[in-house]
Subunit: 445 residues, 2 copies
């Protein structure tokens, strides 16, 4: 069943009913999540939040806005623009994802180095608990020391602890100006050094994207060579008051030049910057067009490592790919350590797919060994559940205890993140060998 509530009170009534009858409830935002968090794997009620889409209060003089959970990210920023403010996380799914979904997944994007993730902007939440109670947590002030910060606990809980219906978000002034530098290198190591040297200056860019040879080739083939032909490139954006942007731009150029780049271009021209950003965003789709019969798959697509470990991480991912005979493209938000690694496989070749799967677990293990996480911004859902459990071995018991305390009947988004009591973890990308009888949909029985 799909329900589309309009008010917090309606959500509360539904939760009362579901809890009394032990019916799973799966909260759903824009449906843009990449790990299956909103998939109703045990059936039940999909709670589609799209009708709770009111921007309720814009209070830039108090640095906050109050919005319904179903408000689309891009629409909120359109509404904030006349005030010269924004909600900055900039997820890749900006035009479709909802604020409630962003909170539930702790979404972020390419500007996290300077502007942080969604968790850093949540001042308060209205949440309907599993047992139907309406909880108001957080404040409309920039800081509080008033008890458990349940609002921050809800960030990244992926709908397993409560249904977020209203969000109070901190907003930030829009920067007066943005400019970009594109630097092409003859080795990936130099690109990694460029990232580290900028941070250590210290200089915090608003974004710093890295692309490897496979990614560059894919985009150049698909879009007609918008990027320089090279082994690796860095795309660096600086923003702020106009008086300071050129100073920072010059500092970035100086750092990059010291590494003997093949090419270096700077611009403040919006069209050029849009073209560069479009090239970067086109990697995912371009990869599938790079080689005949090969498709780009998101098997291991969202690892994050400490910034200085990026060259290490990329080298290890490559050597794992070589060992298993698969093609791996690495790119991502290098300045916050977030790497988007895509694998090119032939989906009709079972052996190629299996080799890819083997490589993936080794990539995750290498990431954790380097002090990183298997998911920087996409979340866990179903597809990352096995690697998540490897990464979070010391945390699982406390997570399960919190889950049992707040959702004793395990009705909220069951089967996600980890194996909760009474729920079978099913991973749609790596099917488990053992299914329990109750997990087989009735139609297939």
């Amino acid at each position: 069943m799909v329900v589309q509530p309009r008010t917090t009170e309606q959500v509360s009534e539904i939760m009362h009913l579901a809890n009394d009858n032990h019916i799973p409830v799966i909260p759903r935002g824009g449906g843009t999540g990449l790990c299956g968090s909103a998939v109703p794997i045990e059936g039940g009620i999909v709670m589609d939040m799209c009708r709770m889409d009111q921007i309720k209060d814009i209070r830039v003089q108090d640095l906050y806005v109050v919005v319904g959970a179903g408000v689309i990210y891009a629409k909120l920023n359109q509404a904030l623009k006349p005030y010269k403010f924004s909600f900055p996380p900039t997820p890749g799914s900006a035009d479709a994802c909802t604020i409630g979904g962003m909170v539930a997944l702790n979404a972020s994007g390419m500007r996290a180095i300077k502007y942080g993730a969604t968790r850093d902007y949540v001042l308060g939440l209205t949440v309907v608990m599993a047992y139907g109670d309406i909880l108001r947590t957080g404040t409309r002030t920039l800081k509080n020391a008033s008890g458990y910060q349940i609002d921050r606990l809800m960030c990244g809980s992926e709908g397993t602890l409560g249904v977020i219906t209203e969000v109070t978000l901190k907003v930030a002034p829009l920067p007066g100006m943005r400019k970009m530098v594109l630097v092409a290198f003859d080795t990936l190591e130099k690109a990694g050094r460029c990232v580290s040297d900028i941070i250590a200056k210290p200089l915090i860019p608003s974004s710093l994207e890295l692309m490897d040879r496979v990614s560059i080739d894919a985009v150049n083939k698909a879009l007609g060579d918008p990027l320089p032909d090279c082994e690796a490139l860095c795309m660096i954006e600086v923003d702020g008051e106009p008086e300071i942007v050129d100073v920072k731009l010059a500092q970035v150029e100086t750092i990059a030049r010291a590494l003997n780049p093949i090419d270096i271009q700077s611009t403040g021209d919006i069209e050029t910057m849009n073209r560069w950003n479009t090239s970067r965003k086109a990697i995912m789709t371009s990869l599938s067009a790079l080689k005949p019969h090969m498709a780009s798959v998101s098997l291991a697509d969202d690892m994050a490592v400490p910034i200085s470990k990026i060259p290490d991480a990329v080298a290890r991912y490559q050597s794992i790919a070589d060992k298993h005979g698969v093609i791996v493209a690495t790119y991502g938000h290098a300045s916050d350590g977030n790497l988007h690694t895509k694998m090119l496989v032939d989906p009709t070749d079972a052996d190629n797919w299996r080799r890819g799967e083997k490589a993936v677990m080794e990539i995750f293990e290498a990431t954790v060994e380097l002090g990183g996480t298997v998911t920087g911004e996409h979340g866990v859902g179903m597809s990352k559940a096995p690697s998540f459990q490897m990464e979070r071995i010391t945390m699982l018991e406390a997570m399960a205890a919190i889950k049992r305390a707040l959702d004793p009947n395990n009705i909220l988004n069951p089967g996600k993140l980890m194996q909760w009591e009474g729920s079978i973890l099913r991973n749609l990308r790596y099917p488990c060998d053992e299914y329990s009888e109750r997990d087989v949909p009735p139609a297939q029985k």
Copy 2:
């Protein structure tokens, strides 16, 4: 008993022992908290973290540091200074408070408007749970979407959910320059307008302090007139790259001048800025010297309201004070809405004290009505427990459920924040009428 563990493993052993024997454990940082969080009201083991004071890893190239929970705030920043980085929250107790204590209380200070509170810098924690398990939560990356953010839940939990032994903190580049503007007004309303107009520009200062007539008089009397004689003043600090600081300073001056101030002074001179900051910090002690037989007491000292509600809040606090015939001084971190209200009472006059107590609860109620919180940065502990429970009425059940799940025997800092199962809430400032037999220390029986 007081224990001073050196390692996480020692803390774990102590917790095992305490949990098996149902002995309360009270984690203690620098002992600088203002609400009694570290007071062992039910006896037991005070876990003094002062020996876990190693700065374990400074990785500015990765924008993080790893420190033992007992590291003093100011010492960490001394160590970071050569790298041109800092951990920015700047609590008033900077020279004595510990990082672990700051996390447990979600501490902040006068620069929260630009730099946020401690919660915004916690990337990861090592926490020993009530049952002795060692939990590692968070990451060494700037963002993660990897399950429940238990690290952020620990921020503000005041030692009731676990013992924090190690902290991974995000660090930020030190600003290249700081300058200040001091603006004197003939009405408090104009000072409030000045705050709102600066934020709405939008212009985010690094701090913006407000002082009312009582505070100014107290400081001028105690320190020999360092401040202009006026009804209210704003002390505004801007920081950043040298290229931008003067631009911002001029913008602040323009906004302030439009409000017809009595006096306006700007400076980049460190000695002058230190003198102004010292005057501001001296309010608390100066107040006790303002009138004979009157002492400054922290009965209601840490409310925060939405920024634009500051003039409203100050006016309502004054009218409550007048109604009850008590003197109230209001000052604080106006740009983040945090007001430090001190009451002047004659401690030997029971009637005066009782009138003060009555005014306090009305001040808290007015704060919550204005959309604020009873504690912006000091925490709840014992002294704010009654007002906290009024503010957080919808959150108490979920808090208790989480507490029971993670500390079933209620051994971690019992009797703080709220009435946990099996524990009697005692408020040392407003003694409860009912004490249970077990709460009376053995010596008094």
